[in-house]
């Protein structure tokens, strides 16, 4: 049971491929982080896995079925996409925003019913957002907004959760809060994939990491075993140092100095 991308090619402008034959697998019960410099194809890869973008070549398969053969609604029952920010002009409350995650389970002309609201309650309790339920989402802090979007993804009841830079724009404590929620969810059996610009997030929270450079896989595997300074330098173009103790690597430091 996994979400697999095979030999994926994607080009925004014809002929200029952003993904060049990438293989990726998101397994249930584990966290996969996608790493790579700006423009290396992380977000495109994530969106191909969601089904929001259709790769020009290659195929995404969901638990053995072709993703492109599923309707949008069917797909949304399996894959939840968590963007960086809630992009809406209107000030929906936390509750209303999370309820939107129920869309794939509600008929085309239906309205949410008691069961959907119960699911929202369950998710609010699980993520610990009960106190914020009536607050407008745009009035929340960055970390809280991120948790609301994760909660919306959970309300979808999809076995796969795909997140676009869940740790971006957050202070260290909030990064930890969001990422440890993600790890907890993976332990309950969800398959999680997330993009990040912070190799340390991958080192600390991921079971597997996929490092991209110019749309190709540079390294793939257990972050402790593949995130070497040489590989990181190849990916980002600057020097790195790994800090660790007897038990293994603990942090990745970029070796740069301000002019």
């Amino acid at each position: 049971m996994s979400l697999i991308g095979r030999e994926l090619f994607y080009a925004y402008v014809s002929g200029q491929f952003v993904l060049v034959g990438v293989n990726v697998e998101v397994e249930r019960g584990e966290v996969l982080f996608l790493l790579g410099a700006n423009g290396s194809g992380k977000t495109t890869l994530l969106e191909c896995l969601c089904g929001v973008r259709v790769p020009q070549r290659g195929e995404v398969s969901l638990d053995g079925k072709r993703l492109s053969s599923l309707s949008a609604r069917e797909r949304a029952k399996y894959i939840a996409y968590v963007p960086q920010f809630p992009e809406t002009t209107f000030a929906y409350t936390v509750e209303e925003m999370i309820l939107m995650g129920r869309a794939p389970h509600i008929g085309p002309f239906g309205q949410p019913g008691p069961k959907d609201r119960e699911k929202v309650e369950e998710v609010l309790a699980l993520i610990g957002l009960e106190a914020l339920r009536g607050r407008p989402v745009n009035a929340l802090s960055g970390g809280e907004k991120r948790l609301v979007l994760i909660a919306r993804g959970l309300a979808q009841e999809a076995p796969y959760l795909l997140l676009d830079e869940p740790d971006a724009h957050l202070d260290p404590a909030n990064q930890h809060r969001v990422l440890s929620v993600i790890c907890r969810l993976a332990k309950t059996g969800l398959g999680v994939a997330a993009t990040t610009h912070n190799p340390n997030s991958a080192l600390l929270y991921a079971q597997r990491v996929l490092l991209l450079r110019s749309g190709k896989t540079l390294a793939h595997g257990d972050p402790r075993q593949v995130l070497f300074p040489e590989v990181l330098t190849e990916a980002y173009g600057i020097a790195f140092q790994i800090v660790g103790d007897g038990s293994g690597p603990k942090a990745i430091l970029p070796l740069v100095e301000a002019d």
Binding site: A72, Y81, E87
Partner: protein, 344 residues
């Protein structure tokens, strides 16, 4: 005990919203009944009651109530509801609180249809049919133009603005060649909006088309919430975004064209009423759409009361909605900015 308390508190937000919606939908019924008393000839409560539900009353009074005032007031309520609901729906679909249903050129198209009908010396029915068709044609043109260029929201707004101004120029062209003594004033007054000549023959088709449009939007209103997110999010939540957007825009256009074909051009209601409704029940379209319907009906009934009673002659509706609507909009706008919600 705690869960019971929690659940009560939880539900109370929705109970409050539902109560406001209920009140907003009852108010226009009261206003409508009250407005039957008002006019050049002021009637008593008993006369109106007897005319409506059968009783001793002069035939001229009964005819005045049932054949002149009632169709006009029903038209006012329906036009108000149509403009407000389609305005709210368009603001959601376009993810922009400054949009109203005229954005796709419906009014300009309807104006052209009406002007052509008047130049061709068609009767009231002809004017209604032509302006309805003109409104639909303009919006269809805007949608077609936009879908030829990818069908994104910005393209749709742009093509709407283009079609709108193109059709406005065509209206000016028709006016320029119209007979300046009879036809030109007719066109000019039509473009200012008003319900003075409305009879049942015009109201019935309005009611039928509106029932379809309002019914459709009500069924889809919760999904409208999701369409206000980014396109990728809405797609990832399993919505057929383009198809749904097309359906909503079509239903909204139907409502606007039906309204404008009866009332002429009436501005501002479709922009301000959704904002006022949002201030009362919040942005959730589950409550926002019915609240806008009730509030829109009430507001246009009141405007029409002023239009027909304030001066010895009728005041065109668009002048009133502009004169009163602009300051109200400004106040609402400032309130929103001060609250810091929704405007970024």
């Amino acid at each position: 005990m705690r869960t019971i308390l929690g659940r009560t508190e939880r539900a109370s937000g929705r109970v409050r919203q539902a109560t406001i919606v209920l009140v907003l939908c009852l108010i226009p019924i009261l206003i409508l009944f009250g407005s039957l008393l008002l006019g050049r000839l002021n009637l008593g409560f008993r006369e109106v009651w007897a005319s409506l539900f059968g009783g001793e009353v002069r035939e001229t009074v009964r005819a005045l109530v049932l054949r002149v005032r009632l169709p006009r007031l029903v038209a006012a309520a329906v036009v108000g509801a149509n403009l407000a609901v389609s305005g709210a729906a368009f603001q959601g679909v376009f993810r922009n609180p400054l949009v109203e249903s005229r954005i796709l050129g419906v009014s300009a198209g309807a104006g052209l249809g009406a002007a052509l009908a008047m130049v061709a010396r068609a009767g009231p029915a002809g004017i209604q049919v032509f302006s309805f068709a003109g409104g639909l044609l303009a919006a269809a043109l805007a949608i077609l133009l936009a879908s030829a260029f990818g069908g994104g929201i910005l393209v749709l707004v742009l093509s709407g603005v283009l079609v709108s101004s193109f059709f406005s120029s065509l209206v000016s062209l028709v006016k320029y060649f119209a007979d300046p003594y009879v036809q030109l004033p007719g066109i000019t007054f039509w473009l200012m909006g008003g319900l003075s000549a409305v009879r049942w023959a015009e109201v019935l088709p309005l009611v039928v088309v509106s029932a379809v449009g309002l019914g459709g939007l009500f069924l889809l209103r919760w999904r409208l919430n999701i369409l206000t997110l980014s396109e990728a999010e809405a797609q990832a939540l399993g919505l057929p975004v383009r198809r749904l957007r097309f359906l909503l825009v079509t239903l909204g256009t139907l409502l606007t064209a039906a309204a404008v074909s009866v009332s002429g051009v009436v501005g501002w209601v479709g922009l301000i009423v959704p904002h006022a409704a949002r201030a009362l029940v919040g942005p959730d379209h589950l409550f926002l759409l019915p609240a806008s319907a009730g509030l829109g009906a009430a507001v246009l009934l009141l405007f029409d009361d002023i239009a027909r009673t304030a001066l010895p002659t009728e005041i065109p509706l668009d002048i009133l909605t502009g004169l009163i609507g602009v300051p109200v909009f400004f106040a609402l706008f400032m309130r929103q900015i001060r609250k810091g919600a929704g405007w970024r």
